[in-house]
Amino acid sequence: MSDLLTIENLKTYFFKKKKVIPAVDGVDLKIKKGETIALVGESGCGKSLTSLSIMRLVPKPGGEIVEGKVNLDGVDLTKLTENEMCKVRGRDVSMIFQEPMTSLNPVLTIGEQLIEVIINHQKVSRPKAREKSIELLKIVGFSRAEEIMKDFPHRLSGGMRQRVMIAIALSCNPKLLIADEPTTALDVTIQAQILELMKGLTKEFDTSILLITHDLGVVSELAERVVVMYGGQVVEEAPIDSILNNPYHPYTDGLIQSVPSLTGEIKELHTIKGNVPSPDQFPKGCRFAPRCHKAFDRCFNEHPDLKAISDSCSVRCFLYEDKQEEEEYNV
């Protein structure tokens, strides 16, 4: 499988009143065609901002991509003009957001919100776009699709609105679907339905997914590989099995420990001490050091790099760096 999306050293900063906030600070990420990747990490670690950077929708004024490449199918999105980027959004890359209640325009009908995006990207007549919209609504599970077309968003429940968002996102067969916590705002049974739907659809449409979440249950349900972020950087990247059963980075370990259902046993719930440092006051050494129970001297003075420790796993931690150097030495 070839790579669909390659992010290299992406840095997205906020510039506020002479203060520089390095919210995304050197993220590397690869997504293969048809693959589902989960991006996990605590609140504020830069997950949403990474995805908005891919879309070039970083909040303005203040937010800016300062460095890095975002290659989609060989095209560096950071180099495109705004007009060229408009052709990519919604067609090649589309997005589902966390808040289904507010993500749809309250004054436009569901039908209009579907039709407009189809017409925007495809050379089809309005009636054709209408037909296609009805079809899409049926695919995402509305049996009375014709009636839903005429409805306004406030008439639909959260789960229904998220289905509409999925229909909109998939309407132009995107290569990449970014789902930013798509089920967080929904109740548990609806969550399962939406995940099921996304799983089936991406198979059908052969779309890659970048799934952002802090729910590891959702991750194990959908994703093949997991990228763990901390403090604006990737700290570990590994296949889902490796992450769940053999996490390398102490932060990933803490994250897994804090989910009761995954470890199987009923034991005292583990939490990671302390809070995520805010991006304008990261510590000098390893960003996790103040909270890490394995931290040693070096961690407080030097900043570790993200290093591959096997074919499929990379980790940003000094604990493994030595090991790797030893191995290299031994060979």
């Binding site: 879309m55 929708l57 004024p61 705004e82 007009n83 408009c86 052709k87 990519v88 959004r89 919604g90 067609r91 589309s94 997005m95 957001f97 808040e99 507010t102 993500s103 749809l104 325009n105 309250p106 004054v107 436009l108 407009e116 995006v117 925007n120 990207h121 306004f152 406030h154 968002m165 909109i168």
Partner: protein, 316 residues
């Protein structure tokens, strides 16, 4: 929708009745007797008594009110005390078109200028242009319209002679659209200035709020260009609170037209109002109050209906 409109119309009836009572009451309280102006002071007490009796001025006040209302409902606002032989409705109807013209043109100018500026400021907030517009709108809100009107007449009309000093048309000239517009433009702009300024503020604030909403981010994620995002997805939402404000601004507008008509000698109901007040022409005053109230009520009604059309979340 239809039932909503009907219900909303019916709701205006008690409002109008209330206004009629208040305006009737206020005129009763005003000092100065209605007879003082047109009864010969020399006539005998009996003749005067007969006169009062004849015009129903001796009836108890509630009876007078009911009689008056009864006549109004038949479309009869009574006779002017000053211009003998003229009915109140004749006098008002002769002036009303001028006032409506002034107000409508003024509102169109205010909207046409304020909303694009407000939207523009909201898309480029905290820039030099935004601050400039903000400063001007605060000045516009803070400066009384009549003062701007006086300045406009002094400089633009008298000093530079660019505009006529007043009236609706040049006297003794055949009707010409150009001439009418030439007379109309200054009072219309001046009447609209403070509302234009506050409309700019409202539409800026409202659009700024809207452009920060999640559905705007969705629209951008769909690949729409800035213009379509702002005008298709933003503006309709941003205008909803502005419509409500418009309904509330209307009384302001009518009050303002009284003064502006005086400044520009514009023969509308505002000028008539001033004359009627100074001459204690009670039937005319009451008629004018009722007509103004009706304008306000109808304006609010229209704003409410527009609101319901614009915002599908309103449940009827």
């Amino acid at each position: 929708m239809i039932t909503y409109i009907i219900r909303r119309c019916l709701l205006t009836i008690p409002v109008l009745v209330g206004i009629s009572m208040v305006s009737f009451g206020i005129v009763q309280l005003a000092p100065g007797e209605p007879t003082a102006l047109f009864i010969d002071p020399e006539i005998s007490a009996e003749d005067r008594e007969a006169y009062l009796e004849h015009y129903g001025l001796n009836d108890p006040i509630p009876v007078q009110y009911v009689k008056w209302m009864g006549q109004i409902l038949q479309g009869n606002l009574g006779y002017s005390l000053i211009n003998q032989g003229m009915t109140v409705q004749e006098m008002i109807l002769a002036r009303l078109p001028n006032t409506l013209l002034l107000m409508i043109v003024s509102a169109i100018i205010a909207f046409a200028i304020a909303i694009p500026i407000g939207v523009y400021s909201a898309t480029k907030p905290y820039t030099l242009k935004d601050y400039t517009f903000t400063t001007f709108s605060f000045l516009g809100v803070a400066t009384p319209n009549f003062w701007i009107g006086l300045l406009a007449v002094t400089f633009l009309s008298v000093q530079f002679g660019w505009f006529p000093t007043g009236g609706v048309a040049t006297l003794n000239e055949p009707f010409s659209i150009f001439d009418r517009l030439h007379h109309l433009i200054l009072p219309a702009v001046v009447l609209g200035t403070s509302d234009m300024a506050s409309l700019t503020r409202y539409s800026r604030t409202s659009m700024l709020d809207v452009l920060d909403q999640d559905y705007i981010r969705t629209a951008r994620a769909k690949g729409f260009k800035q213009g379509k995002v702002v005008y298709k997805h933003g503006l309709r939402n941003g205008l909803i609170p502005v419509i409500t404000m418009t309904g509330l601004m209307l009384p302001n507008f009518i009050g303002g037209s009284v003064i502006i008509e005086k400044v520009f000698n514009w023969p509308g109901i505002g000028l008539l109002f001033i004359d009627a007040t100074f001459q204690r022409d009670y039937p005319l005053i009451m008629g004018l109050v009722m007509v103004s109230a009706l304008l306000v009520v109808v304006g609010n009604l229209l704003a409410d209906i527009l609101y319901a059309i614009f915002d599908p979340r309103i449940e009827y």
